[in-house]
């Protein structure tokens, strides 16, 4: 929606809830707090009502003055005014606190449900939508709704109530004052409509342009070394300037819109004030109301300026918050993945692949007729060029995608028969994507096994050779790592991923590009760590370095989606085929 990201064709964005579904979801979340919500409403209404006592009391003082009462007579209404103040304050305390309590509880419920559903989505679904969609919902949308609940909703509620009750109070003074005040309403309504039509797309554009600028600065500043290496300084300075000018441009359009908005509201204010004063003039002249009442009406109306401006200005926030809410509810309302009624459990860790074929676009096979037979505990390396189908094969075996043809069996049970919950306990998949979870290192590892004690964590780290550097960290396992914490190197992050694999302790493990991007020295350290982590499991490794293949029990060579050779490293080298030529090139004159 507002992200500047390109959406390649075929992207299937996650659902957005309709208005009715969104309302139903909010009602459901509100239900446990409805008692408190009712109390909040009572407190807000009472607070607004009490605050309206001020104007008639001032009117009473004016009337006393006009009728020539002695100075002492003023004391009574003034004391009443003084009594209104703390009552108004206390009711505001109750109202604000209760509204916040309800709002925050609903918000917490919503975000928890969202995260649970988001993490429960099938990986295939997330990849179809692109993880950017999910990330922008969990960050931008949740925080937008949060801000609205925290700031806009209470202010909006209070202002709206003040307006409503002021209008009632004006009517109580004399119904003609209400009529006069309502003269401002058409102008305000037209202004609001005029503003909302322009503001929503303009603010969306402002966010996009701001994001583009931020991205450009990250590009240029983050890549400064690359910019200098290629002598691109002038070009990048120009790019930053252009982006920055776009930001200035849109900011000026925003301020023009806002000032025009307030300008129109000024007109409404003037029309209203003039009408109320004129009404007062006529009614006082006719002897229908006192000067005090006319003054009270004028004071009422002047005090409406601020709440009216607030309510109308907040309409825009309300509109964007509603859009964000619909995007959150869209995910939070998804049904969790369903498995078979009676999941079959695997009997061992043997993997059998039969006639496996797959395509992402109909007619474009990426994998065809693949047969594999891995005995429990075997270490198998997949070798092949980019696009040969290694990653697809790895994902099919891990149960990420459902194969188009053929089947994957683990421990004698097909993956469909096992269902997602059992597959999750059977196969682990480590991809190139390294992510270190923000927080203490120990907590990161415990995601893999929540009940593990420190000894178990240290043992797992030792298995993958990470113990020396973990011990050297400032606070050991308690060291805060990840975003905003102690920065880990790529090799350390990958070792962490392998340690999680050890802790998760699944009988079958699949490593895809797990050692890429670590630099040559790092790759070797990781290869050793991966070998230890896979010990005792059936391992399927997408090999990037042929040393990984040489160390495996079995090598499978893929080309254009088919298995072209398989066997032990030595057999394949002796056979003098494709693998042997690769090995020669790799090991030169070995």
């Amino acid at each position: 929606m507002t992200t500047g990201r390109d959406t390649p064709a075929g992207r299937e964005l996650l659902p957005v809830a309709g208005a009715a579904r969104t309302r139903a979801a909010v009602r459901e979340l509100l239900r446990p707090h409805r008692g408190r919500a009712a109390l909040a409403l009572v407190a807000l209404v009472a607070g607004a009502a009490v605050s309206l006592l001020a104007a008639p009391l001032l009117g009473r003082i004016i009337d006393l003055v006009v009728t020539g009462a002695p100075p002492g007579a003023v004391t009574g209404p003034a004391l009443a005014l003084a009594a209104v103040a703390p009552a108004q304050g206390l009711l505001a305390v109750a109202g604000i606190a209760l509204v916040a309590r309800v709002g925050e509880n609903v918000l917490a419920g919503l975000r928890e449900r969202f995260v649970a559903r988001a993490l429960g989505l099938p990986l295939e679904r997330i990849e179809a939508a692109g993880s950017g969609d999910l990330t922008s919902r969990v960050t931008a949308d949740v925080s937008l709704v949060g801000e609205a609940v925290r700031e806009a909703v209470p202010q909006f509620a209070r202002s709206a109530l003040v307006i409503l009750l002021t209008l009632v109070a004006l009517a109580v003074l004399d119904w003609r004052f209400l009529l006069a005040a309502l003269l401002a309403v058409p102008i305000q309504a037209l202004t609001a409509r005029w503003y909302l039509r322009r503001s929503t797309p303009l603010y969306a554009e402002q966010r996009v342009i701001g994001g583009v600028q931020q991205q450009q600065l990250l590009d240029t500043v983050g890549g400064a070394a690359t910019v200098r290496a290629f002598g691109l300084e002038a070009e990048h300075a120009e790019r930053v300037r252009t982006r920055s000018e776009d930001v200035v441009d849109v900011a000026l359009r925003v301020v023009r819109l806002q000032t025009a908005f307030f300008g129109r509201l000024n007109l409404a204010e003037y029309v209203g004030v003039a009408a109320v004063l004129t009404t007062g003039f006529l009614l006082v002249g006719a002897g229908t109301v006192s000067i005090g009442t006319a003054s009270a009406a004028a004071l009422y109306f002047i005090n409406l300026f601020t709440p009216v401006n607030e309510v109308l200005f907040l309409l825009d926030t309300a509109q964007s918050a509603a859009a964000s809410l619909a995007r959150i509810v869209g995910v939070a309302g998804l049904r969790p993945e369903e498995g078979p009624a009676h999941p079959v459990r695997p009997v061992d860790a043997a993997v059998r692949v039969k006639g496996l074929g797959h395509h992402y676009l109909p007619g474009h096979d990426v994998l065809d007729g693949v047969d594999l037979d891995l005995r429990a505990g075997a270490q198998v390396a997949l070798v092949g060029a980019s696009g040969a189908g290694k990653t697809t094969l790895a994902k099919l075996v891990a149960g990420v995608h459902r194969p188009a043809r053929g089947s994957v069996e683990i421990g004698g049970a097909r993956l469909e028969e096992q269902g997602p919950d059992v597959v999750r306990e059977t196969v682990a998949l480590i991809t190139q994507e390294v992510h270190v979870f923000a927080g203490p290192l120990g907590e990161d590892l415990r995601l893999a096994r929540p009940d593990a004690d420190d000894t178990a964590l240290l043992a797992a780290l030792d298995t993958v050779d990470a113990l020396p550097w973990v011990r050297a960290l400032p606070d050991g396992l308690a060291t805060v790592v990840g975003t905003g914490g102690h920065a880990l190197t790529v090799v350390q992050s990958q070792q962490l991923a392998l340690a999680r694999l050890v802790l998760a302790d699944r009988p079958v493990a699949i490593l895809d590009e797990a050692t890429a991007e670590a630099g040559s020295a790092g790759s070797r350290a990781l290869e050793a760590a991966a070998r230890s982590a896979l010990r005792g499991r059936t391992g399927l490794v997408v090999a990037h370095r042929l040393t990984q293949a040489a160390a495996a029990d079995h090598v499978v060579v893929l080309d254009a989606g088919r298995v072209v050779e398989q066997g032990t490293h030595d057999d394949l080298v002796a056979a003098g085929g494709r693998y042997a030529r690769l090995w020669d090139a790799w090991s030169a004159s070995r």
Binding site: R5, D6, A54, L64, P70, P77, A82, V84, A85, G89, V93, R101, A118, L119, V138, T139, R150, Q214, T220, V221, G223, A225, T226, V227, A229, F230, G231, H236, A237, R241, V247, V248, A251, G263, V273, L277, F281, S295, A298, I302, A385, V400, R424, A428, F437, A438, R446, L447, P450, L501, A504, R506, E517, S520, A521, R545, W586, S587, A588, S589
Partner: protein, 564 residues
Amino acid sequence: MGVGNITGWRLLRASVGSQRRDVAVASVFLVGHQTGEALVPVLVGVVIDEAVRTGDARALTGWLLLLGLDFAVLSFSYRFGARRSWLADVRADQRLRLLVADRVLDPRGGAETGRLPGNLTTVAVADAKRVGIVNFALPLGLAAVAAAVVATVALLRISLPLGLLILLGTPPLLYLVHLLGKPLERRSGPEQERAAQAAGVAADLVAGVRVLKGIGAEPAAVRRYVGTSRAALAATLRATGAQAWYQGAVLAANGLFLALVALVGGRLAAQGEISVGGLVAAVGLAQFLITPLQIFGWVNGRLAQARASAARIAEVLSAAPAVATGPRPAPADPRGALRVRDLRHGPLDGLDLTVPAGELVGVVAPDPAAATALLRCLGREVDPEGGTVELDGVPLVEYAPRDARRAVLVAAHDAELFSGTLRDNVLAGAPPERDPVPAMAAAQADQVAAALPDGADTAVSEQGRSLSGGQRQRVALARALAADAPVLVLHDPTTAVDTVTEARIAAGVRALRRGRTTVAVTSSPALLAVTDRVVVLDGGRVRAEGTHAGLMDTDTAYRTTVLG
């Protein structure tokens, strides 16, 4: 441009000075606006006195017209004042952002020393914005002064004692409010942080969703998130409780003050000291005065923030350059003979290395720090602590950094891609009119293009994060090859690609760079196999050299390094 000693204060003054016309015009308009606002309650009082009380219809028409004029003035003043001050704000903000970008991009480097890239971006965006806002805050502050003055004069004219009561009473009232808010400020800081943390944890878990799914850790992650979310909820509720008490107290204090004004004003009116309209105006002004005084507080806060931000920007702008610039003109058509003489930098301890023009040399450095030090010296990212790097017999430090880099291109292992299409990226450093195809083929980046929806026209986003590591690496290599530098230094260009592709890339690089000086700092056997000669470093110097095949046969340590 600003390398040198710039203080935050001077930067702040220059930032306002650069937009002084707009700031001045905006001040005039906003003073007009606030004066108009202050006059509204006064005029309403007059209408009640002169028209409602007397029943004089002509007076009503006249004063209402004047009130209309006041509204017109305040509305238009606000419109033009706000636009001008906003313009001054965003222009100053932009000016600072560009200054920071220019400093970061200075060929001599040095701005990013000791900083994370995210931190510099924050300086360029958030800090620049905080300094720019001064141009918005200053006119607003001046207008608030004007409003306070107008209200004061009006109040004193209505009644000296009542005016003094309001004028002397308002500052203590605001001070009281400030005191009430103080503990809230202290409490809400860390508590808001807790709330923000919950959002951070959610984003972090979602970002790592593939990792979680890979090991079946989703249930554990959800349980953890619920814990964080509940803790954040408790913290937020404590903060909102404090917030509610604060707002309630402000309302109550305000109301009590109003009652006091009504009491004193009412008695004065009853004694005939002031008129009824005067009483209405005084009550209205007492309410109005709070706004300008609150603006003072806001302006003060912005100024304090702006000073801190200006200091951070000044620090970036005055960062010392990482390398000196040289006196010589750019080398004309260099042959590309590279010579490293007695180089001492970091772990390098007297490194000597000669690469004749046109040779393809492999450098194997078992210590990654030594490789980095050598690459930084070759790319003139730093000036060596000792010794020289010479191109065709001339030390690189004698050239301007840009000219040196144009002759000796160091393609870093973690080079960033930029937004634009894949083709734009490949041609980024290339001479004009260059055909990207041979470089892309040599780097196997044509395979990357073939796998993308729009081929080489596919947009690359977020520093290439839309591509996989292997794809990114191949595009970066194609860019380095397309630049056609007289000397090309490649650092680990194939760590993220598979073995089959790596072998093809090695052959492609060999063919494309024939006759051009190329140095490959790597331990990839596929790449080393296509070099003319391999140099092995150890202890900061050359330990061995020979052909890859020869070293594989005779040098066990080399074999272990390369094959693992």
